[in-house]
């Protein structure tokens, strides 16, 4: 019984991938938003039927869902109340007190998840070291609980100041709330996000409470339905960190389920990196609305401790809600196939961040959209075959694309096809800029990386994107259409916790840090050993560190024993090494401190699948020829076109060329050559200029 199921509920489609040994089947059905489990059960049944198996044969089902993300963005969570320390009722609303755009007086700040009328403050106060300044006022807390109940509250968040240092008051408040309110779920900040910085912790805890009823009941329904249909194996949830956990843990901390689809895509790319032995990878996933990047070193995606959900105002940093939980370090920008092109105030062509999405979609979809989008511009340059789009199920209207491009961009004075070229160059430049910034922010650089391109839009633009970044090698894997669901099946069984414990180096007192590290390891181990054997675990630790006086920490992984003498000095040495890699120098004489700590407990990673066998090289045979516009030379050219399904391992040719398949199109410009490997992945190689 080695059948495994990956189930990914996305915003538009629900994907199921079934694996048994080296074989794989997949099914894509529309997401059923009102009751997502309906679509899941349907897709699971169909995929298993294709594989000739039943749920009783399934040993492991891994599930990821955008349900939590969508509930937050669409504000469809529970009616949530917030209990705070007296004097701090408005932390959630005041946030950073800043504006995320210097010049835009019209910007809209994120609306708090909990309105002021449902925010209650009670006498209670800790110092930063956890000592009690004012004991919790139990009577006031009970009064607040009754007021919440009277207001029809469905979930409660509790965030007291400095609760990361001691959770006793929050636990006491939870007892009172539960006593007064019964079964209403209570999220307490020292469990959800035990880190210093009250706004981020409050935001994260409120979001967790807001999601708990909707996600919790959905998971219970789904698990019951699957069991009723014969599922005997384990069901695990994929987290934003790209690791797996139990349904019970996911129901307590639904905030950790955010962005699980993109995390699945990153793991998919990690697996490809390991399989092909690629040490340094940049994953590049372009859909209709956004492009996502992730840096992968040694087969592992970078981790981060925070992200922002729902950047509703032009995708601007700061326009969403901050969430501090472990997460794969993905960058997502508003640049995709549906991104809308226009002329800006100074006559430049601007693309995105707004998107025509899939409804009405690009003008060429013929669904009533009249905005000029990136997809329209790809079509206008001959990169897409209008008759073969989506396997021929959705013919594209080139005339509508031309009208839309002219309508939006004629004032530039550019010909229609030059305007289309300018749009795709602009959006590629936008993506390249985001990738450069991310590489710089993480101190890892882009030199020598391989690009792993998936999602409908990435293979179209990957070559121009790579050339801009000095990347010479691109891999377009198979199965890219259900990459996240496949990625789920490669995810490690792991759990991370983060906690604040200040340490001045090199000689600061270590008691607090030692206690925190031990407690964190115990907490993470308890979660992982729900499924994994205790003797199969590895523990990874990192400190978030900075020079005293800086405001930005960098993550410093360490493999040192905090109980041994010289730990502080050794940790400082690790910090200096990492700092130098980021910024090229150290600041000698300036004291160093650690602010927070992360502990990750993980089951030993399974060995990756064997690298595909090399196949003898042979020239690929084109299936037809296509007129494609070369914007650099301003000429139309006759390019050979290959059907990917017909390319055998070892097939190779020099660009320019087009490789077509149902889900996407790979553009191989002049200056690149392609080769098909033993796993039928497409490799693009850039010839040195």
């Amino acid at each position: 019984m080695t059948v495994r199921l990956g189930v990914d509920i996305g915003g538009t489609f629900t994907d199921v991938a079934v694996e048994e040994g080296q074989q794989r089947w997949s099914v894509k059905v529309p997401t059923t938003h009102a009751a997502p489990e309906t679509g899941v059960l349907d897709a699971v049944a169909r995929a298993l039927a294709a594989a000739g198996r039943t749920l009783g044969d399934v040993s492991l089902l891994v599930h990821g869902t955008t349900l939590a993300t969508n509930a937050l963005i669409e504000r469809k969570g529970a009616r949530t109340a917030l209990l705070t320390s007296q004097g701090f009722r408005d932390v959630l609303e005041m946030g950073s007190e800043g504006r995320f755009d210097q010049y835009d007086l019209r910007l809209v700040k994120p609306v708090p998840l909990v309105p002021r009328r449902l925010r209650f403050a009670v006498p209670e106060r800790l110092r930063h070291d956890g000592s009690v300044l004012v004991p919790l006022d139990a009577a006031a807390t009970a009064d607040a609980a009754r007021a919440m109940a009277a207001a029809g509250v469905e979930a409660v968040a509790v965030t007291f100041l400095h609760a990361y240092a001691d959770g006793a008051h929050e636990r006491q408040a939870r007892e009172i709330l539960t006593r007064e309110m019964g079964a209403v779920p209570v999220s307490v900040s020292h469990e959800v996000s035990p880190e210093m910085r009250e706004y981020e912790r409050t935001s994260t805890t409120c979001a967790n409470a807001y999601l708990q009823p909707v996600v919790g009941t959905y998971l219970l329904r789904l698990e019951a339905a699957l069991k009723a249909r014969g599922l005997a194996g384990a069901m695990l949830m994929i987290l934003s960190s790209g690791s797996l956990t139990t349904v019970a843990t996911a129901s307590r901390f639904p905030i950790r389920l955010l962005e699980s689809g993109p995390a699945g895509g990153a793991i998919f790319a990690c697996d490809i990196a390991r399989r092909l032995g690629l040490e340094r990878v940049l994953s590049f996933d372009v859909g209709g609305t956004t492009a996502k990047f992730c840096l992968i070193d040694g087969g592992t995606a970078r981790a981060a401790q925070a992200f922002e959900i729902g950047r509703t105002y032009r995708f601007k940093k700061g326009s969403g809600l901050p969430v501090r939980v472990p997460v794969i370090d993905l960058v997502e920008i508003g640049a995709g196939g549906g991104s809308i092109a226009r002329i800006d105030a100074v006559g430049r062509i601007a693309v995105g961040p707004d998107s025509a999405g899939s409804e009405p979609g690009p003008a060429c979809y013929g669904r009533g959209g009249d905005d000029a989008t990136v997809t329209d511009c790809d079509l206008m340059q001959g990169k897409l075959d209008p008759a073969a789009f989506a396997g021929g199920t959705m013919p594209l209207d080139a005339g509508a694309a031309e009208v839309a491009i002219d309508g939006a961009l004629a004032a530039t004075g550019l010909s229609t096809v030059n305007a289309a070229y300018a749009v795709t160059e602009t959006v590629t430049e936008t993506m390249a800029a985001a990738a450069r910034v991310h590489a710089a922010e993480t101190g890892t650089g882009l030199e020598g990386r391989t690009l792993v391109a998936f999602g409908g839009g990435a293979p179209l633009h990957a070559a121009r994107f790579a050339a801009r970044l000095g990347i010479d090698h691109i891999v377009v894997p198979e199965g890219a259409g259900v990459g996240s669901a496949i990625g789920f099946l490669r995810a490690p069984l792991a759990y991370e916790v983060v906690r604040t414990a200040l340490l001045q180096l090199p000689d600061g007192a270590l008691d607090g840090v030692r206690a925190a590290l031990a407690a964190m390891a115990a907490e993470a181990t308890a979660v992982v050993t729900q499924v994994a054997a205790a003797d199969s675990l590895t523990v990874q630790r990192a400190a978030l560190m900075r020079y005293q006086g800086q405001g930005h920490e960098i993550a410093v992984p360490f493999d040192l024993d905090a109980d041994t003498p010289g730990f502080g000095a050794a940790l400082q040495g690790e910090f200096e090494t990492v700092y130098r890699r980021y910024y090229g120098r150290t600041i000698d004489g300036c004291p160093v401190e650690a602010t927070s700590w992360t502990v990750r407990v993980q089951q030993h990673a399974a060995a990756p699948a064997a690298a595909p066998p090399e196949a003898a090289s042979h020239p690929a045979t084109p299936n037809r020829r296509r007129r494609v516009y070369d914007g650099d030379a301003e000429v139309w050219q006759d390019w050979p076109e290959y059907d990917r399904a017909h390319l055998q391992p070892g097939a190779a040719a020099a660009g320019p060329a087009i490789i077509a398949e149902d889900e996407t199109t790979t553009v191989v410009p002049a200056g690149f050559a392609f080769r098909i490997d033993g796993a039928r992945f497409i490799h693009l190689m850039r010839r040195q200029p």
Partner: protein, 544 residues
């Protein structure tokens, strides 16, 4: 211009801004100065051979925008580009040449491409300390305010001028942090310069000239077109602020003449004896920012967007202070300029009502029980003015780009307790659109670890509230007092004894439109949420 040249020009423009933004973000991540990293109090830009700014990072503070654009011209006048060699780096913090006070260093690095200097990159960063009396109003002249470095070479062909660097280090209280930030500025400039050269190579361009001409001409054309669309004429406004110890009057004549705009501050108060004076560069920075917020929020900042708007103020006035006037806390007056400018544009464009303006940033000092001296500045915002069609932002900084610091982080680093930091009910001006609420902050020394708490205030709008627009009510005035009672002034020095606390009521933003036109549902929601304490309170707010 060929079609291809046009397309490339736009792509180069886009990449230049991205290169500078990347540099700005790196500076924020490494900065020791809280104003740099929390307020984004920095700027980065690229300049052509004539010293004209071609592009600027999106991140940055208004105070550095226009002032750095002017500063680089001074640098290139002192050291001609053609005399510079790769590895040269120029610096200065002269308030009259750079951005208005000694804490800001501007660093300029030539860009070499094909063996020739094709332009320069520059950044301005606020330093954590510059010696002297420190950041504040108390200086009697600029010499008391700290160390001044004229335009000088910090590196000669890649070799650091150790005498200069060590002189700076010897004159500041935090030498490692200051030299660390200067190094970061130099490294950032060098990386940006290398990337500009790579960009030119990628697009097979020899220099920046054609690109610069096109960017500046197209931007200028757009901005001039928008000015020309406004009716010619003279528009006036004036605004009084609390000043240091007496009222300061700021007067503006805004003259639109065809395709140009002049902001003339004649009639404003004379320079003060304390460090709230503003040099003309900084006056221009915040005045032009005010115009651009409503006229050109969508226009990238460069020489072409700045040149059509001229700024003048009488020499020796508080808005064109001359050497050796003290200037350290020039933001106290400078941050009021956008409200002054917006008011003058009231007839021409939809502009918000006045807001709290100045950020309240008390500097907290004392000696902890461990004998360690501490000093910390916190940033706190009052309410923003209501807009024509929506309420003002509650507790949000404008025009400053500052962000507040977490209370938990403040308390973890100094023996101070912030007992409250909440929105201040009834502080938003009444109106069809309500002004943003200010906030109430209660600060005390942690009695277990501290004796007296010393506070250097830099507060305004205690006497002069944000004024309503189009019939809207004024925002609430700011108030400062001890918890035990007794009002305090907005400037000077306070001592908070153990057991007592400092209570700050930050001003609210003003309202827009007649309060009687307020949507009853919006008023009911405000009352339910406690932004307005009661219907009676709202009626009271309607009275000036």
């Amino acid at each position: 211009m060929t079609q291809r040249a046009r397309i490339i020009g736009d792509l180069v423009w886009q990449r230049l801004i991205a290169i500078l933004e990347d540099q700005a973000q790196t500076l924020i991540r490494t900065a020791f100065s809280t104003t740099t990293r929390e307020a984004g109090d920095l700027s980065t830009g690229v300049f052509d051979r004539r010293g004209r700014m071609i592009a600027q990072a999106v991140t940055g503070t208004p105070g550095h925008v226009n002032s750095m654009a002017l500063a680089v011209g001074h640098f290139l006048a002192r050291f001609s580009l053609d005399t510079l060699v790769p590895g040269d780096v120029l610096i200065s913090n002269d308030p009259w040449l750079c951005s208005g006070h000694l804490h800001d260093f501007t660093v300029v690095t030539p860009v070499f491409h094909g063996g020739r200097a094709v332009g320069a990159v520059a950044n301005t960063v606020h330093m954590v300390d510059i010696g002297g009396l420190g950041f504040g109003t108390e200086g009697r002249d600029v010499h008391e305010e700290g160390l001044c470095i004229p335009i000088a070479k910090l590196a000669h062909g890649g070799a650091l001028d150790t005498v200069l660097l060590e002189s700076i280090a010897a004159n500041v209280r935090a030498p490692d942090e200051v030299t660390g930030d200067l190094h970061s500025s130099m490294v950032g400039n060098a990386q940006a310069a290398a990337r500009v050269s790579e960009l030119l190579a990628d697009y097979r361009l020899d220099d920046l000239e054609a690109v610069a001409d096109a960017i500046i001409a197209r931007t200028r054309e757009t901005v001039e077109g928008r000015i020309a669309a406004l009716p010619d004429g003279e528009y006036r406004n004036e605004l009084a602020t609390d000043g240091y110890d007496h009222e300061v009057l700021l007067k503006l004549r805004l003259i639109i003449d065809g395709r140009t705009m002049l902001l003339d501050f004649a009639g404003s108060s004379p320079a003060d004896t304390r460090g709230i004076n503003v040099v003309l560069n900084y006056t221009a920075a915040y005045a032009v920012f005010g115009v651009n917020c409503v006229l050109n929020p969508d226009i990238p900042c460069n020489h072409g967007s700045l040149a059509p708007i001229a700024v003048s103020a009488p020499p020796g006035s508080i808005l064109n202070a001359l050497r050796p006037s003290p200037v350290s806390a020039r933001h106290m007056i400078g941050h009021m300029l956008p409200d002054l400018v917006l008011g003058a544009l009231e007839e021409l464009l939809p502009v918000p009502a006045e807001g709290a303006g100045l950020i309240w940033n008390p500097s907290l000092r004392g000696v902890g029980s461990d004998g360690r001296q501490f000093s910390m500045v916190t940033f706190n915002a009052g309410g923003a003015g209501a807009q024509t069609d929506r309420d003002g932002w509650n507790a949000t900084a404008f025009p400053s780009g500052v962000r507040t610091m977490p209370v938990e982080a403040v308390e973890a680093s100094v023996p101070v307790l912030i007992r409250a930091k909440d929105l201040r009910a009834d502080s938003g001006g009444a109106g069809r659109q309500r002004g943003g609420l200010g906030q109430t902050i209660v600060i005390e020394g942690d009695a277990a670890n501290l004796g007296e708490l010393l506070v250097n205030p830099m507060f305004d709008r205690l006497d002069h509230p944000a004024r309503g627009r189009s019939g809207g009510g004024d925002g609430a005035r700011g108030q400062v007092r001890l918890r035990s009672g007794g009002a305090l002034p907005g400037k000077g020095r306070y001592t908070v004894p153990p057991g007592d606390a400092l209570v700050l009521d930050l001003p609210g933003g003003a309202g827009f439109g007649p309060p009687v036109e307020r949507d009853p549902a919006a008023l009911a929601a405000d009352i339910a949420d406690g932004y307005v304490s009661s219907a009676e309170a709202w009626t009271g707010l309607r009275k000036p």
